[in-house]
């Protein structure tokens, strides 16, 4: 049970590489925070600094109100689940889970109680006498979870714990981890680059890019009001369409370079005449039958069963690819459709990429 605070945390690696440029984050007790971002953006680095596996170049990390910058990992009251699980190959499942407790001098019967309890929660009882190499990938994952649980830590740290599992198992474990975290109510930091995982598990998301936190918020906040074009395109699949245009007189619509125009649900008179990047998600573009809207020349149609993705470009703008997501099937054989934007459109500064 603890809050976690990061204040101006920075990481400069020994070779001079500036991996983290000052991150502030306040995590409430029991909250599930997911760190997402493209490869190399510094997610693991940040997590490992909280764990104490990497030194903190600048800033402060507090766990439960206690600065931990100088503490050894074992003294920080955290538990970590690694991507490759890092189970001790020569120890039985039971000993893998008990090892940390033994090192702390926990009494034997207490260790036994905790290990059996964790094994019960994770359905590992029949496997306690096996070695890691006698387990399936999913079972190993569970043991790694068990090893974290028995420590009853203040903070759980996960570094892409599901990325070595197949798609089906990943969905199942995702639900299980989330349920477990709810039940134990332990503050958690979870690193992933799978955005479905991020959206479904997080209480709040931290979208990272190049060592900075681009935006911190609930999944719905990030989806509905992305703060930058980076977040806008990173969250949501397929990515948001970004189109160049100029806000028309009165701020009621945006004239696109393709020649067509998209109306703004909330008029923005203060932006009149300004060039903007207009963002609209594929699912917020719908075909029209009355001839209004923009003409989308189709290049590729992807039938996903429940949905159909139409890829193409707007008539008059060959450069920008545009994706439309339809529910249901789509009759093939057409090479263009008329589409219109529903109310959800986003405006960004074309240079800075920030939300207007």
């Amino acid at each position: 049970m603890a809050e976690l605070h990061l204040k101006g945390v920075q990481k400069i690696y020994q070779n001079g590489f500036h991996a983290i440029h000052g991150i502030d984050l306040d995590v409430a007790d029991g909250e599930f925070i997911v760190l997402v971002g493209p490869s190399g953006c510094g997610k693991s680095t940040l997590l490992r600094m909280v764990a104490g596996l990497e030194t903190i170049s600048d800033g402060l990390v507090e766990i439960g109100g206690r600065p931990v910058n100088r503490l050894e990992p074992a003294d920080r009251d955290i538990a970590m689940v690694f991507q490759n699980y890092a189970l001790y190959p020569h120890m039985k499942v039971y000993d893998n889970m008990a090892y940390g407790l033994r090192n702390r001098g926990t009494p034997k019967d207490e260790i036994d109680r905790r290990v059996r309890e964790a094994a019960g929660i994770l359905e590992l009882e029949p496997l306690l006498d096996r070695r890691p190499n006698q387990l399936s990938g999913g079972q190993r994952q569970r043991v790694a979870m068990g090893r974290a649980i028995v420590r009853e830590p203040s903070v759980f740290l996960f570094d892409e714990p599901l990325s070595n599992l197949d798609a089906k198992l990943r969905v199942q474990m995702r639900v299980e981890i989330k349920r477990l975290q709810r039940r134990l109510a332990i503050t958690s930091l979870y690193v992933t680059h799978d955005q479905v995982e991020a959206m479904t598990m997080a209480d709040r998301l931290v979208v990272m890019n190049g060592g900075r936190a681009e935006q911190i918020g609930t999944p719905i906040e990030l989806y509905d009001r992305p703060a930058t074009t980076f977040v806008a395109t990173f969250i949501g699949s397929p990515s948001m369409n970004l189109l160049e245009g100029t806000v028309a007189e009165g701020g009621t619509s945006v004239a696109l370079v393709s020649g067509s125009s998209i109306g703004l649900p909330d008029p923005r008179p203060e932006l009149a005449g300004r060039s903007v990047t207009l963002g609209v998600r594929p699912e917020h573009l719908t075909p029209t039958t009355d001839g209004s809207g923009m003409t989308l020349r189709l290049d590729l149609i992807e039938q996903l069963g429940a949905d159909t993705l139409l890829h193409g470009h707007l008539d008059g703008d060959e450069r920008r690819l545009v994706t439309v997501r339809l529910t249901g099937h789509f009759a093939p054989g057409q090479d263009a459709v008329q589409v219109a934007a529903t109310n959800a459109v986003h405006l960004f500064d074309p240079q800075a990429g920030s939300r207007l």
């Binding site: 596996l53 074992a74 490759n84 890092a86 020569h90 090192n103 890691p132 090893r147």
Partner: protein, 282 residues
């Protein structure tokens, strides 16, 4: 590839049998010779079947030794060899485990320099550095002692290098997980690294034991006191007994005895070795 061609099977069996005969024949002759009285061997024909002197010959050799060759019982020599081989094997493994641990897991100044210095000694086996080493051992007054027999042979890099390579293949996360689990460096070494190195240790022990057991030149140099003779150099002295023909039957018995410990080590350790190989883990 599994092929079912009868003549191929026959040929491959023939080759195997031939190989076995070539390997086993000298050992068989040695054994046979060690069970005959000396006259049977000296009359020009080599007997092919064991004689009736097995117990007499081996008892003589083990208990009294050969008078002409100093009269040291082979039992003593075997013991000396054993002490030397074990000290070398255990010492080498212990030192190189620790050295490799330091080089791989600790970041200290001149770490790579240390590694290269150790590595360079690979090029300097005993035979090359024998004069300076002898001088040092003599000056330290370690001639005619077990320390003098084994210590100079312990310092070498092969095992350090092998353990370093092995430690580098152990995933880094294992060390990190242990750190989070509250295991300090020594605990990590003892609880995790050592058990994982078990098979490597077993393999190296076999190699190093035989290396130590078969040492010839070095014991010859540093021992003048007969009670420190090792069996391998002892055999050589027996064949060069002054003013009389070598007592071949006793020499052969000694040879058989000298072969025994390495064979035992290989057989015993092989089990552990194979077991480790089967349970691939890491």
């Amino acid at each position: 590839m599994v092929e079912n061609r009868p003549y191929l099977t026959v040929i491959s069996h023939l080759v195997v049998i031939l190989g076995i005969v070539i390997t086993v024949m000298p050992i068989w002759i040695t054994f046979v010779a060690s069970t005959h009285p000396i006259e049977h061997i000296m009359d020009g024909t080599i007997p092919m079947w064991p004689g009736d002197q097995f117990f007499e010959n081996y008892a003589t050799v083990l208990g009294a030794g050969i008078a002409d060759a100093g009269g040291i019982p082979v039992g003593t020599m075997l013991f000396n060899s054993l002490v030397m081989a074990l000290t070398i094997a255990v010492g080498k493994i212990a030192i190189s485990l620790i050295a490799a641990f330091a080089i791989v897991y600790f970041d200290f100044p001149f770490r790579m320099a240390c590694f290269w210095i150790i590595f360079i000694t690979l090029m300097l086996p005993v035979e090359v550095r024998i004069l300076p080493t002898f001088a040092v051992v003599a000056n330290l007054g370690m001639l005619n002692s077990y320390i003098g027999l084994s210590l100079p042979l312990i310092a070498s890099a092969t095992a350090t290098f092998l353990f370093r390579q092995f430690f580098l293949t152990v995933p880094e996360e294992l060390a990190e997980a242990a750190r989070i689990d509250g295991a300090g460096p020594l605990k990590f070494f003892k609880d995790i690294l050592l058990p994982l190195s078990r098979t490597n240790v077993a393999a190296l022990f076999v190699i190093l034991f035989i290396y130590g057991w078969n040492q010839y030149l070095w014991p010859l140099l540093v021992t003048t006191d007969e009670s420190f003779y090792t069996v391998v150099m002892g055999i050589q002295r027996m064949t060069q007994a002054a003013e009389s023909l070598p007592l071949w039957h006793l020499v052969m018995a000694t040879t058989m005895l000298a072969m025994l410990p390495p064979v035992i080590v290989v057989v015993v350790m092989q089990k552990l070795f194979v077991k480790g190989l089967v349970e691939t883990e890491k």
